[in-house]
Structure formats: C-alpha cells, structure tokens
Amino acid sequence: MSTPLGSARYAVGIDLGTTHSVLAYVELSTGLNAELNTELSSAPKILAIPQLTQLGAVGEANQLPSFIYRPHDQELAPGDLALPWCAAPSALLGELARNLGSKTPMRLVSSAKSWLCNGAIDRHHAFLPLHSPDEVAKMSPLEASTCFLEHLRDSWNQRFPEAPLQDQEVILTVPASFDPGARELTAEAARAAGIQQLTLLEEPQAAVYSWLQASGDDWREQVAVGDVILVVDVGGGTTDLSLIAVSEEQGNLCLERIAVGEHILLGGDNMDLALAYRIKAKLASEGKKLQPWQILGITHGCREAKEQLLADPSLDAVPVVVPSRGSKLIGGTLRTDLTRDEVTQTLIDGFFPLVDVSEHPEQQTRGALNQLGLPYAKDPAVSRHLAAFLSRQQGAADGLLGESHGSFIQPSVVLLNGGVFKAPQLSERVLGLINRWLSDVEADPARLLQGLDLDLAVARGAAYYGQVRQGQGVRIRGGTASAYYIGIESAMPAIPGIEPPLEALCIAPFGMEEGSEVTLKAREFGLVVGEPVRFNFLGSTTRRADVAGDQLDDWDPEELEELPEIQANLPAEGRRSGEVVPVRLVSRITEVGTLCLEAVTLDGAQRWQVEFDVRAPEVR
C-alpha cells in the first residue's frame, strides 16, 4: 500500500452515483486491536449530508442527489446558498439543485458520471449543461464530479473536524464497466477534491462486500465451492453486471471476480419515464393533453405508485396526481390511475421480458455517427443485456472451476442491488428469468442472496472494504476485468481505396493485480517529439489468455471493444522538435486501481504518461 494505514482513523466509502451519492464510514481498528477484532467488524454508518432543501434552508439527508444547478445571477438573494461550512459556495447542488432544475432544465447539470465515461467527448472540456445558452456558466464532467466530492468532503470535515477526509482511507466506487480513461478521470476528480488516500472499487463488488459484512461469518453457509455469483446492479441511470466465482484454497473459501459486463446506460429512471409516457398516452386518448411540466409530475407520481403496486399484490390501481402550478389547487389538479396491468406490461414485460438466453440486444457501435449525447441503451430489455452477458462469458469460470458446457455461464447464486429491486415482483422476475434459462439446460435453480439495503449497500460495502484491506474478512480477488490492446496498422502493400487492416497488440493482459507492471519488450515505437501520437485503444472482457506482446490480426467483433483513443505526447524539453525517440510501452495498475500507460525510453531513464482523455484540439 502506498500510504501507511496508521494515520487513517476511518475507512470512508463513497458511492458517487449517476443520480445519488452516498457516504458511509467505519472506524478502522489500529495496531493490536486489528488482530483482536478480526471477525468483529462494526457495521458501516451513513453520513447525513447537509444540503440546501430550499433557498436559505439547510437540511440533512442520507443521499446527495447528483445534480448541479447553474443559477442566473438575478435568481438568488445573497446568502441563499449558504452552507454550514461556506457562506457563498460556488456550486449549488443536491436536492435544491434537482428541484430548481426540474423547472429550469437548461441550467441543470445531470448525469455527469455518464458523461465521464463517454469517450466521444473531451471530458475536461466545460460543456455542461448541454445545449444551454452561452451565458449559462459551463462545467466539465470532471469538474461536476469534483463538485460532488468536495461537497461530501466538506460534509465530512464538518462532522469530523478532528479527522479530516484527506487523512482517511477513502474507497470510491466506480461501475465495473468503466474504461481505464473513466477510472483515471474519477481518480483525478478525487485528487482535485483533496482526497489523498484513494482506492477505486467496482460497484458490484462493493455490493458483495456489503452482503459479506451483513452476513458476518454466516456467508460461508450461504455459498459453497463451485458457486458462480451473478451480481445485477440496476442504479438510477446504469445497469452493471459482474460474475464472482467461489473457489477453495488451502481449505478456505475464496471469492474471485471473473467477469464484468458492458456499460449499459439503462436504469430505474428509464422505467419511471416509461410509465409516465404510458400515462401520457392514456390521458391523450381521453382527450387530455399534458404540458411538459406535468410529465415531470407524472414521473414523480409514477415512481411512488409503482413502488406501492409492486410491493402490495392486493392493490389493483394506485392514483397518481399532478398538482396544478398556480395557487388554485382544486380543479387544476390532474388525477389519473396507474393500474397493475400497466405496471406489469411496461416494467416487467418491457424491461424484464421472459426471453430466450440466445436473444441479445443489437450491437451498438460506440461513437459511430453519434450525435453529441449520451449513448443510452437502445434496447430497454435488461433481460437481453443479461442474456448477452452470460453468453459472452460462457467460459469465464473454467480456469477456476473446471471446464463448463452449454452456450452460457450458469450462475448458481444471484445478488440484486439498486432501488429498482425494492419491488419484490421485479427481483422475483429476474430470478425467475435466470432460473428459466437454467432449467432449459437442466441445471439447478439459482438462489437469491438477501440482506442488502438496496440504496446504501454500495457505500456501506466500500467502507467495509477499507477494513478488509486491513486484513479483516475475505477479499474478492480478480485484478483488471479486461485485457487492453492498441490498434496498429498492419504492414501490407497499399491498395487504393482500402484502408490497411488494423491489428491489435496486447499491452496489458486480463487480471492484472494492483501494483503489477508489464513491459512490452518485443516492440519499440518511435515517438516524434512535440507531436502528439494517437493510438487506437481496444479492450476485451473475454480474452483471458493473451499476454502482453501478443498481436491479433483477426478477431470476432464481439470480442474486442473499441475504446476512446489514447495519446502519447512528448514534451520538447531538451530535444529538438521533430526528433524521433524510440520508446517501449509499459502498463501498470496503480495502487489506486487505475491503469497507467507509460512510454519509456529504451534505457529506462525517461517516462511519459500516455493520456486516456484525448483533448479535442479546438478546446485547448
């Protein structure tokens, strides 16, 4: 570990979510205590986060909505934004930002996290809120993430002035599907917010840690050697999938994360919106036309009505009301019903249809002719994304658990996380779907693991991971969940009109552990001083056998995913511009958990970092 743990009193887990952020913490045991407390870990606590609830009023909540509002300078009175730690904060975020933004969307920054992993844009460039007029102060996805972390830091420091966050062990969660660039940007945001002892942790793993913590020693009774745990984490904006295998080493159960899914921009918010549009269509057929602001009200109403309907099977319909905007409340208020059939058809059949395991969503090509916007999943069926994931990862556990057969990997245990699964019908449906696939191949049905607090589990699990790093409890192994490649043009005679085919050179193998380093010895690159050199960058979540230096000239399009381009930039200091310097590529997994690519001179004397976030030239 890069920093001595002795100085940290707490492990702080931060779930920096697309729609909400949560901070959990647990006291670390020190020195002798660590040995005594091996299995006696206390449950992580949730920090109540102060935030503006109205202009000039500060309340506290467990969740900090991930929204930033960029107010007009005449919109506010002095002191309206004061927080306990600052009379005039530079950013307005949290609950009030979301409320103000619902009425003035053009000033609202939302989904910053999804932008952070969108390689089609320069993530250091200030362009959010998207498509807003020039006079609205813009910020970059990186700045937005930094703002949330700063707010959490200040909340923490306010509550624990004797133990400032910079001295604590901070575990920040990221989607398992985040590419190296997005991970690095997340770490950069944390550094900018003054977090010094940082570790990144994949969100589905954090959910598993939360389950481990909640189960105590009992977890060994709930899973056995040979089990494959499927984690389905459906957040507000994204769906994240992971597989964890249970194996044995010297008589002890081991957990190893063997695969992660693609980044799917599909979550609980899509489901509420789908219900709202269904209600809108129903009202339209009754001759009632909705205003845009009423759609928003309907979406809010649908979320609550949906939860009631899915929790209570005896209800057939729940009223949804949208209050009028003016002071005349009666008469102007719109009332309609959300029925059980509507919820079943829209959510259960729309998002979790009972499809065959061979039905997969259409492949989306990343960045191809995409308008500037977020690459939302085109296929809303979580079922098909899940089927594709399990099929693609067919042999993922073979290395650990022995050879398997069939067209998909067969999970024996399922862990569900995310607010969506508060509805028992939805969790039953997901389990039912998986068991249907399993029964089709005559496998035993999967079991559901219980005991997660669906909104807070990721932050809690992250805090608990801080204790695990101290040696308390079991650690999930796994390393990186992708192998990485750079694309190079193959040497072949030029044919007019045909681009030379791309070959993929493996620069970092699958499963690299924190702190390990791989040098690509076989191949040298010539970098031109003062001229940025761009590389095509690719990743694979299935090619487990490739080692650094392997060169692929042919691959299945499903195997390799094109990632945002990367760029090596040699500063001109001490060299002539235009000089060609021979270098080797070195890849390393940092202690933080990010991938670091470096160009190193042949004698090893000089190193330059290869950048993941290639900046658009017009921006700089």
Partner: protein
C-alpha cells in the same frame, strides 16, 4: 397580515390556532416551572423577609420567534400545497375534485412530517381501553377529563393516544433569511 385589536378572535384561522396552542403550551410550561421550583426550594429553609405578603412569582412570558412557525408553513406549502388548499373555497367544487387535491395535501404533508419530525404516540395502549394513572403522572402528557375528582391513582378510558415529537429536524435557516416569504411567486420566462 392585518391585525385585529378585538379581544376575541374574529376568525378561526391558522394564526389564531397557533396562538391558542402557544398559550396552552406556555401555561403548562409555567405550571411545570413553578412545580419544579417549589420542589427545589423545599429542602432549604426559606428566609422570610416580608412574611406578611405571600410571594407571587411573576410569570415570565417568553416572546416566541415566529421563524420556526413560518418555516413550517413554508415547508407545508412547498411539499403539500397546504396554504393553497386551505385558502380554496370548497363550496364550488365537487368532492372528486376536492379529493384529488386532498391527495396532494395528504401525501405531501406525510412526506414533510416524516422528513422533519419523528412523532410518537404518548400512550401505547389501545384507545377505548381502561388504564390507570399512578400518582406523579405528567399532566402535560395526559389530560384528565370528565369526572375529575379524588386523588391518584386514577382509572379511566383512553380516548386519544396523544402525539409527541421526539425529534425535530427542521432545516437550519441561513442567517438573514426572510422567513416571512412562505413561497416565492413564480414567473415563467
């Protein structure tokens, strides 16, 4: 806000209700303070300087700051459209229309109350059941009615369980915040 100088309230509105509640609370507090102060004083022998005049403690009536009350109104308006609802003239609307609006008020008030207060019943017994109050019960928690005579223990029927706030989490107001603005006017551009 207009101020009426007549001695009896000319209208029963929220303000007067608040005032009535405040008066009751203050009287009860005063009684409690007097009770406690007497108990404290009893062990030490009192030096009677003027035995001819019985001592009368002057009632210390504290001026309550209106900020918290205004803040509550503001929260109820924001979450539950409370002020809008109370100011509507119900006579011209159908029960269905009133019902739709009542849902807004009910859902919103519930949300506001659960966000900003922790409320609990004072008595855990079933209503309409018999219970006995031992001597020394807290008269501000339990109010005796009907055939009130004799001395404790009292046996009677629980009519209402009562409510008490065990925790208040009202948002903290920024210094200088004008709490008299309960809901800003909204102008869409």
């Amino acid at each position: 806000m207009s101020i009426q100088f007549s001695l009896t309230p000319v209208s029963v509105d929220f303000l007067h209700l608040v005032l009535v509640v405040l008066v009751v609370v203050l009287v009860l507090m005063l009684a409690l303070v007097l009770l406690l102060s007497r108990r404290k004083q009893s062990p030490t022998p009192r030096v009677e300087s003027e035995p001819s005049v019985p001592p009368v403690a002057p009632a210390v009536l504290q001026e309550s700051t209106p900020d918290a009350a205004l803040q509550l109104l503001s929260v109820l308006q924001q979450d539950a459209r409370f002020l809008d609802f109370v100011h509507e003239d119900l006579s011209s609307y159908s029960d269905a229309d009133i019902g739709a609006a009542a849902r807004v008020v009910h859902e919103g008030s519930q949300k506001a109350l659960s966000t900003y207060f922790t409320l609990a019943a004072i008595r855990s017994e079933e209503e309409e059941s018999q219970l006995t109050l031992a001597a020394g019960f807290n008269p501000s928690e339990v109010h005796l009615t009907g055939n009130v005579q004799g001395s404790a223990p009292f046996t009677g029927t629980l009519i209402h369980r009562g409510w008490k706030a065990t925790e208040v989490r009202l948002p903290k107001l920024v210094k200088g915040h004008n709490a008299y603005i309960l809901a800003a006017a909204e102008v869409e551009l």
